[in-house]
């Protein structure tokens, strides 16, 4: 039944509903975004073609600062997710009693509705009564209350910490699964030859999970670049723009100020960066896979 034209037709028929859905809800809006980015669309029903005016306008509004901020924010968030996730996976992979329970306990930030976890962080960051400021004061590490979300610098890092918190479970469990799929014989052979635990980690575990690490870093990069809920709930991009990433900026302009055209130009910029990440991802993953098969 393979290869026949009939089979291909059947396959396309099976695919059609999902494909049409994606075309309607993702592909068409994507094209529409590009289209709108060259217009002065706003709340009123009619709009005109304005060429590249929106793009000129956003760069006059210091958009490059927003871009740089987004990259710094994303870079540190992904870095921390990967480092903490790898450490977590290594520890949960250790053959100690209770690890099944520990694995379950890792999951809540990932499973629970994101917004609700973020509310809890909102309280923890409260300067007067929140846990972080409170505990630091109790231990004498800071002198007075620190309202983490009230200052640009601390708000920037606070939103990163919350983003890391939400991302870590997925990274951990994914890497843990990668570690558990490494054949045990490898470790046993190395162990018989007298290789220590650290040496086995460096020479067996690490090389074997590199593909998973790369995949996860890229997926994490894309998700983090798109991160919206955390910043919107905690700071709405403030104080004075210090946590305004590209997504937040787009939302404020497009939905907050109803400037669809200008917002669309910003969204197009985001899409360009995302496409570059994706290209890089496919190149790297392609390399790893062909390298392994060879």
């Amino acid at each position: 039944m393979t290869g026949s034209r009939n089979a291909s037709l059947f396959a396309f028929a099976l695919l059609a509903p999902a494909l049409l859905y994606i075309i309607g809800i993702v592909a068409y809006p994507l094209v529409d975004t590009v289209n709108l980015s060259f217009t002065n669309a706003a709340l009123r029903p009619t709009y005109d073609w304005v060429g590249g005016a929106n793009y000129e306008k956003i760069f006059r509004a210091n958009f490059e600062q927003v871009i740089i901020r987004t990259f710094v924010w994303t870079f540190f968030s992904v870095l921390f997710k990967m480092v903490i996730g790898t450490l977590g996976a290594v520890m949960l992979n250790a053959a100690v009693p209770g690890r099944a329970l520990f694995r379950i306990l890792t999951m809540p930030p990932w499973i629970v509705p994101m917004a609700i976890g973020i509310f809890m962080w909102g309280w923890m960051y409260n300067g007067q009564f929140g846990m972080i400021s409170g505990l630091l004061q109790n231990f004498g590490l800071v002198d007075g209350p620190v309202a983490w979300l009230a200052y640009g610098d601390t708000a920037f890092w606070a939103t990163i910490v919350t983003d890391v918190w939400i991302g870590v479970p997925l990274v951990t469990i994914y890497l843990l699964a990668a570690m558990q799929s490494i054949p045990r014989d490898l470790y046993e052979a190395a162990w018989t030859d007298g290789a220590g635990r650290l040496y086995r980690f460096r020479r067996i575990t690490l090389p074997m999970i590199i593909p998973a690490l790369v995949t996860m870093s890229m997926l994490s990069l894309i998700a983090t670049f798109n991160s919206f809920d955390i910043i919107w709930i905690l700071t709405r991009g403030g104080p004075s723009g210090s946590t305004t990433t590209m997504i937040i900026d787009t939302y404020r302009v497009a939905i907050g100020s109803y400037k669809y055209g200008e917002g669309a130009a910003r969204a197009v910029m985001i899409c360009i960066f995302l496409s570059l990440f994706c290209l890089a991802y496919f190149r790297v993953v392609g390399k790893i896979n062909t390298g392994e098969k060879a």
Binding site: V112, S181, N226
Partner: protein, 285 residues
Amino acid sequence: MSNKPMIDRYKWYEVVGIYAGIALFLFFVLAPFIEGFMVSLKPLSALFSSPYSFWPKNGSLTAYFTMWESVPGFWRYIANSMFISSVATIVVLILVVPAAYAFARFPFPGRGALLGAFLAVNMFSGAVLLIPLFRLMRSLGLLNTYFAMIVPGVAFLIPTAIWLLRTYMMRIPRELDEAAWVDGASRLYTLRRVILPIAMPGIIVVAITTFIGAYAQQFIFALTFNSKTEFMPLPIGLFAYFGRQEVVWNELMAASFVGITPVLILIVFLQRYLVAGLTAGAVKQ
């Protein structure tokens, strides 16, 4: 300890180190929930007092009773969340089961590119497409209805679901299809009567992960496309409450806990499936 293979034995200081590390790690992961729970037990006066104390003095469950009045429509929010997630999951399954089967079984031209195109959807968040989606929802007359949250939500749940189910279906032996084919069964009959029953465990895994994804991600579409209180899902309902001038934190936390309890229970029972679902496509088979 003694019946463990030698390779898995740790020296005492290694065990201490591992547990200390795990404790630190889990503290980071669980701290907001622990703190949130403590807050839900504290009376407001104790909450807004210094110095900070972690343990609730005069702790009580009062907030869990008063919140039903302070957050009017709380039940409604939870029911809305469940309803939106359930409908989204059903729609995703209807679209994804045939698509995954097509990808798993038929070597049609352009298969790789199409699969890539589906996965590329994961690249965009809803936020990027918000403007045209808003216009689309408006012109379809769906703004301020459940569908304004379900229709865009489904699109972003499809890629992962296809990927997971395709991986599962590729493990079903091809001989089964071929045997049915030889016996004269039509392709559709084969899919319905041969493949679907065997793929059921995989479909259930996909249903669970989709449901949880739909439940976890209810924010941006609900924030932007719906302003009617009676349709709000839990996160947005609580967010509206959170946005008020004087946040009644203990009640907000109590409400959050009641709201997430269903998913927490799900984790305990279904974590095996969640991990299987998550890693099916990821780790190389």
